[in-house]
């Protein structure tokens, strides 16, 4: 974890207790298995629309999610499944939504790009690149005015840094000292193009320009992400808005079905070496938690997902009349 100049330099802390790391591993595994299951369902034509999987980025969602309290709010992106799961979304209603069913989180009207669960402060995935930041800024204003003591987090990709709304948001958050945390998932790609061909700036430089403390972390190391996130969330809660940059890896295509002709095999092997689950397994082993002891949890997760998928498949389709009635409150 490397920190920007505005934050007191702080050595990588002593690390997390095994119990906590294990829970984080479980959360990541849940996200991974959900994403894999979604990939299969999509390939089989069971999921309408398009879906963007977060495989390889699970440590960001799990680590930041672990640092948040239930009252905290989070706005997400098109690649938002992990964020929703980490915030604690109900898995049944999540799958129901992805399959476009009546009892889905969004009653089948939003799908993957709009998964939201306001009851747990999950303000929604978003189909518009960069659009989550203004919403999270507004949520932070609400926290500030209403003195909720909560923090608002915006997840966004590195490609989003080119969008003007992101800058307007960073400026406003800094200016008004909002309880706001911007979490960049820097996976090096914006769709089919490397982001270094899209951006002349670094987030480090931009954060410095806005006087926002910037923290850089290996986004595939869930322990590092969690520790960094705890720090920045606490700072943001105290009215010192923060930027957290997580270097991570988009293992799959931009969306499912993307043939990825634009990527090299070297990148694939480099990504494999950075698999967040493998990194966590290694760290757990060092703490004496062997791989075998993690098996029961994996089985549990798979069963949970299978049940959710079964329920989702059996779910009723939404009716047009109710949908039309939902346009206005």
């Amino acid at each position: 974890m490397k920190q920007g100049p505005a934050v007191p330099s702080r050595a990588r802390s002593n690390g997390l207790p095994a119990r906590e790391l294990r829970a984080l591993y479980g959360r990541m595994l849940l996200i991974r298995r959900v994403e894999e299951q979604l990939g299969r369902l999509f390939a089989d034509g069971e999921i309408p629309g398009f879906i963007h999987l977060s495989i390889g980025q699970e440590a960001v969602a799990a680590g930041v999610g672990a640092a948040l309290e239930p009252r905290d709010t989070a706005a997400s992106t098109h690649r938002g499944h992990g964020h929703a799961i980490a915030k604690g979304v109900d898995l049944d209603r999540f799958f129901l939504e992805l399959l476009g069913k009546q009892d889905g989180l969004c009653r089948g009207r939003g799908g993957s790009m709009h998964v939201a669960d306001l009851s747990i402060g999950m303000l929604g995935a978003n189909g518009i690149v960069g659009a989550g930041l203004p919403i999270a800024v507004g949520s932070a204003i609400a926290h500030q005015v209403r003195k909720t003591g909560a923090v608002a987090v915006a997840f966004f990709g590195d490609g989003a840094l080119a969008e003007g709304a992101v800058h307007e948001s960073l400026n406003l958050a800094a200016l008004w000292k909002l309880p706001f945390l911007a979490v960049c998932e820097n996976n090096g790609w914006g769709e089919f193009s490397p982001t270094d061909r899209q951006l002349a700036a670094t987030l480090e430089g931009l954060a410095a320009a806005y006087n926002l403390p910037w923290t850089d972390v290996d986004g595939n190391d869930v322990e590092a992400v969690t520790l960094a996130a705890r720090h920045v969330v606490a700072e943001a809660r105290a009215g010192r808005p923060q930027v957290l940059e997580c270097r991570t890896t988009r293992v799959r295509g931009h969306f499912e079905g993307d043939p990825q002709k634009y990527r090299s095999t070297e990148e694939a092997s480099a990504m494999a070496a950075r698999d967040p689950l493998a990194i966590a397994v290694k760290a757990l082993a060092a703490l004496g938690v062997g791989e075998a002891s993690l098996q029961p949890e994996a089985a549990e997760i798979d069963a949970r997902i299978a049940a959710a998928v079964a329920r989702a498949r059996a779910g009723a389709l939404p009716g047009m009349a109710q949908a039309r009635a939902g346009v206005y409150a």
């Binding site: 709010t73 939201a116 009851s119 949520s139 005015v145 209403r146 307007e168 206005y328 409150a329």
Partner: protein, 324 residues
């Protein structure tokens, strides 16, 4: 009863709403300390403090986008966009976020925000400071659009807009800010979507809203001197609009003119006319004539702008044409 200016009625509606509900906050460029470019928000910072009355940076996208997030977070933001021409910079927040959040999140949330913005010409403010773009927003499911024509309505409709759980665009014609009118005491309350008969008549119906209502009334006066009694309907709310009221008037007069300051082509009047050409077809005894601005940007020069803004003469001529 007190004689109050239009701008002042809006100010009072904001003050009363803020006093009644601590979740109402104001956001906008120069609205707090300076009291707003048209002095509409004057004094509110002193009354309610800097936490609730916020001068923002010049950054329309984020102030509207943040209003969506704040509205989903338990506040009722009222955000000002200094000229309606600048909503061009906030369309994603309005259209893709505010308008859709309730629907696309499956009724989980409401977005109780109001966006106030002035439209219209008359100040020679030129092509980028005069546009009437309400037709865009009326086309967007999930938004409501309101446009009052007088101080009492400005008060009542703004209170209703703030109380409404949905995002409401509140459009204020700049030429009306100085207009005086009675503001009843206690001030009026209302609900959105209800039109008002501004002048009764039996020979033709003129549907209008905002400042153009006064143009329509002037036309009706002129027509009355020719023994043509035109009924003037003030829509007040454009989305939803009061189809039943327009249809009822048409059923009496059998002639329809729609007048507004916005560009005629693809304007709000097109929807009114199209709808009446369907559900009101059997009532029509003459063509539906629209009066709106010509298909050109709002010109700067005095004489050009004066010719540009639809006149009472043009409205009267439209009525005569449908009666011919």
């Amino acid at each position: 009863m007190a004689e109050t200016r239009f701008a002042r009625a809006i100010n009072q509606a904001l003050a009363d709403a803020m006093a009644a509900d601590a979740s109402v906050i104001l956001l906008g460029e120069d609205i707090a300390a300076p009291g707003g470019p048209f002095s509409v928000t004057r004094g509110l910072l002193d009354k309610f403090g800097a936490d609730r009355v916020r001068d923002t940076p010049i950054a329309e996208a984020v102030i509207v986008g943040a209003s969506v997030g704040a509205a989903m977070g338990g506040l009722k933001p009222v955000v000002e966009i200094m000229f309606m021409d600048f909503v061009t910079l906030a369309m994603d927040a309005l259209v893709n976020q505010a308008a859709k959040a309730r629907f696309m999140f499956g009724d989980q949330t409401t977005v109780p925000m109001v966006l106030r913005t002035p439209h219209g010409g008359g100040l020679n403010a030129g092509p980028q400071h005069s546009q009437c773009l309400e037709a865009w927003l009326a086309h967007v499911p999930g938004l409501k659009v309101v446009c009052p024509s007088n101080p009492a309505d400005a008060y009542a409709l703004l209170r209703a807009a703030i109380d409404d759980p949905n995002p409401v665009i509140f459009v204020e014609n700049k030429a009306l800010y100085a207009m005086k009118g009675e503001l009843p005491d206690p001030p009026p309350s209302d609900r959105l979507g209800v039109a008002r008969t501004a002048r009764p008549g039996r020979d033709a119906t003129i549907v209008s809203y905002g400042a153009a209502v006064h143009t329509a009334l002037k036309a009706a006066e002129a027509l009355a001197r020719e023994s043509v009694e035109a009924e003037v309907i003030d829509l007040r709310s454009l989305q939803p609009w009061d189809e039943a009221a327009v249809l009822a008037s048409l059923a009496r007069t059998h002639r329809l003119v729609v007048a507004h300051e916005a560009v005629e082509a693809f304007g709000v009047g097109a929807e009114i006319a199209a709808r009446m050409a369907d559900v009101g077809f059997d009532e029509l005894d003459g063509p539906i004539v629209r009066v709106g601005a010509p298909f050109m940007p709002v010109p700067f020069g005095k004489t050009l702008e004066a010719e540009y803004v639809p006149s009472a003469d043009a409205v009267a001529a439209a009525v005569r044409r449908t009666l011919a």
